[in-house]
């Protein structure tokens, strides 16, 4: 059984006087212990809302969450706030994009760490202090004793993110959710943090969900990838499989449109996906990517697109597309007429 099972998760935002917005729509995925799972998407794809829903961190007013989230056999979706708080910080921990706003600016780094350790791990104050020092050392912070007595603003961005990670792993969580943890950081610092996360997952055997817009980050870190577009997962596969044969036109277009640093003979113009994420279709009417898709046919607008399985039962590679890239002839002969 998987560590985390997300089944048919949906999140709808309702605001008075406005059409409800379905930000996440029928999302299902698994995370096994020791596994890193990437959720990739652009702004508005619903990737961050998915992670907040898994953590139970969405506000209750104006938000409807459907589906189930099961962690280690415990169903989180119908747990009360109190039990959920216990789980957060102990079994599941989250790392956010901006470490400055996630750390309390008026409390020393040490106290923030100690607080987590005494509350969730049940350590005494003395034990917690010693453990906090160990944790900072473990996440690669030099001179941890001094850093414990300092405030978050006295640290650089990279150091702050390390402190956040130290807080997140303080109680040896089973699942780590990292929401764009390196987006605010410079490349060399990003490399340090990704390296640290890789090591932590390998050493502790926890599962990790990596929310990112950067396919490069996914390529270097994740075992499985789910690509989200407009609230739904449009393609899922093992990382190598996905990069070897991106099959949803969106994934494919995205990969082709990214300039690569190791491209020794860059083409004059980049491949582009036309339009923007605003050009969309409601999923129940058709494929949300249809207005931007070069492979679109009339059928793409006749109801929600079915999922095509391109993998095997053991190594699945589902694609939510009627005409996956590289599959035209075998699957949908005759659909090509527009």
């Amino acid at each position: 059984m998987s560590l985390l099972e997300v089944r048919d998760l949906s999140v709808t935002f309702t605001r008075s006087g406005q059409e409800p917005v379905r930000a996440v729509d029928g999302v299902s995925f698994d995370v096994a212990a020791g596994q890193s799972v990437g959720i990739v998407g652009e702004s508005g794809s619903g990737k961050s809302v998915t992670s907040l829903a898994v953590m139970g961190l969405l506000p209750s007013r104006g938000v409807q969450v459907g589906g189930t989230v099961t962690l280690d056999g415990n169903e989180l979706t119908d747990m009360d706030q109190r039990a959920l708080r216990d789980i957060r910080g102990r079994d599941v921990a989250m790392i956010f994009q901006d470490p400055m706003t996630s750390l309390n600016p008026v409390v020393t780094n040490g106290r923030q760490l100690v607080e987590v350790l005494t509350r969730h791990a049940g350590l005494s104050k003395g034990e917690a202090k010693a453990e906090a020092e160990q944790l900072l050392r473990r996440v690669g912070i030099p001179d941890p004793v001094r850093r414990l007595g300092e405030y978050p603003h006295q640290l650089s961005g990279g150091m702050r993110q390390r402190v956040m990670i130290a807080i997140a792993i303080a109680c040896r969580p089973k699942l780590l959710i990292a929401d764009e943890p390196t987006t605010a950081l410079d490349v060399t610092i990003q490399a340090q943090i990704l390296d640290l996360l890789r090591t932590l997952v390998a050493e502790s055997g926890c599962g990790m969900i990596m929310i990112t817009h950067d396919l490069g980050v996914v390529a270097g870190l994740c075992d499985d990838v789910h690509v989200m577009y407009s609230g739904r997962i449009v393609e899922s596969a093992g990382t190598k499989d996905l990069f070897a044969r991106p099959s949803h036109p969106y994934t494919d277009g995205l990969l082709q449109s990214i300039p690569r640093i190791d491209d020794d003979d860059p083409a004059d113009l980049l491949h582009t996906i036309p339009g923007s994420a605003r050009d969309t279709v409601a999923w129940d009417r058709g494929c949300a990517f249809q207005p931007r898709c070069a492979r679109a046919v009339a059928e793409c607008l006749s109801g929600p697109p079915a999922v095509t399985e391109l993998g095997t039962p053991i190594v699945p590679h589902p694609v939510r597309c009627l005409r996956p890239v590289g599959q035209d002839v075998s699957l949908h002969e005759g659909n090509v007429a527009r």
């Binding site: 605001r15 917005v21 969309t280 009417r285 058709g286």
Partner: protein, 311 residues
């Protein structure tokens, strides 16, 4: 483009894809703010109160049944006994034999006059100082802001009392006193906002286009800094009405004791508070309602004009 679905944006939430730009009628920013304003119940109540207040002030001679200074009913008044509401005198008669309702109606004129003039004087001077400091920066800013700091360091009402006392008892001095108190508030507000806007990229863009400094200040920085000033203006109007009443209560308003004015009516009612408390409540209520109207509109404006709520 016909298949494009308009998805409402969720601030801080997922789909930041509010509207397809090419499929929407053009709208000016002001009109949009107004549309949001009329959809806020708080603003509607505030605007209704202000409308009543202004209409009453303008049409006071038509609404008031009697002249505010007409004391023909002095014979009905006995010490400690003042006729209450009746069909002829809706709010009764005051100790000097005048119709209270008429005085309240005419009082609206005074209050509105004081509020508007004090606001206009204070705002103009404050805005001028704020623009000076905000546009030039450097030593000009330092000098202006030190001056403003000194003004701010004196408590508002105390300052107004001092100014009014210095200028002598008159309506003009009350208006000037209230204006002076508001000068530093406007100056500081505008200057701070302008300094913030000056660092914005679009100002840098304008500079890189070779737009002159004065054009940048007046066409870009100032319009974008003005929202809080407008909001402050409505709140100041509310405050000015209360302050004018306060100064009148302290006996610092006009030298003509028969002038109908809410603050003075409150002062006069003090002497008969035990026997006729209603005489204090009517003008008090009038002050509160008028001030409330401007406050409600001001607060709603703050939200309506906030770009964070704009979509």
């Amino acid at each position: 483009m016909s298949v494009n679905e308009v998805v409402a944006g969720e601030p801080g939430g997922p789909a930041p894809a509010p509207t397809e730009a090419a499929a929407r009628p053009p709208s000016s920013l002001g009109r949009e703010a107004l549309r949001r304003l009329v959809r806020t119940p708080m603003a509607v109540v505030g605007m209704a109160l202000i409308a009543v207040f202004v209409l009453v002030a303008i049409f006071a001679p038509l609404i008031a049944p009697y002249s505010p200074t007409d004391n023909s009913w002095l014979d009905q008044v006995r010490p400690g006994q003042y006729p209450g509401p009746s069909a002829e005198h809706w709010l009764g008669i005051d100790p000097l034999g005048r119709d209270v309702f008429s005085r309240i109606i005419y009082g609206a004129r005074q209050s509105l006059l004081i509020g508007v003039v004090a606001l206009a004087l204070g705002a103009v001077a404050g805005i001028a100082l704020g623009v000076l400091a905000g546009a030039f920066g450097g030593w000009v800013d330092t000098v202006v802001m030190r001056f403003v700091d000194i003004m701010l360091s004196v408590p508002g009402l105390l300052f107004a009392i001092a100014v009014a006392a210095m200028l002598g008892q008159s309506l003009t001095s009350v208006m000037i006193a209230i204006a002076v108190v508001n000068v530093p508030i406007f100056a500081r507000l505008l200057r701070g906002e302008m300094l913030g806007q000056r660092g914005a990229d679009y100002v840098l863009a304008a500079r890189s286009l070779g737009i002159s400094r004065s054009a940048i200040v007046f066409r870009h920085v100032l319009p974008n800094s003005f929202t809080p000033v407008i909001v402050q203006g409505t709140l100041t109007l509310a405050l000015a009405i209360v302050e004018a009443a306060g100064l009148a209560f302290l006996g610092l308003s006009g030298s003509d004791p028969s002038a109908p004015e809410w603050g003075r009516m409150l002062t006069d009612a003090q002497e008969t508070l035990t026997s006729a408390p209603m005489l204090a409540i009517y003008p008090g209520l009038a002050i509160v309602l008028a001030a409330l109207g401007f406050t409600l509109v001001g607060e709603s404006l703050r939200e309506a004009l906030d770009p964070k709520f704009r979509r």
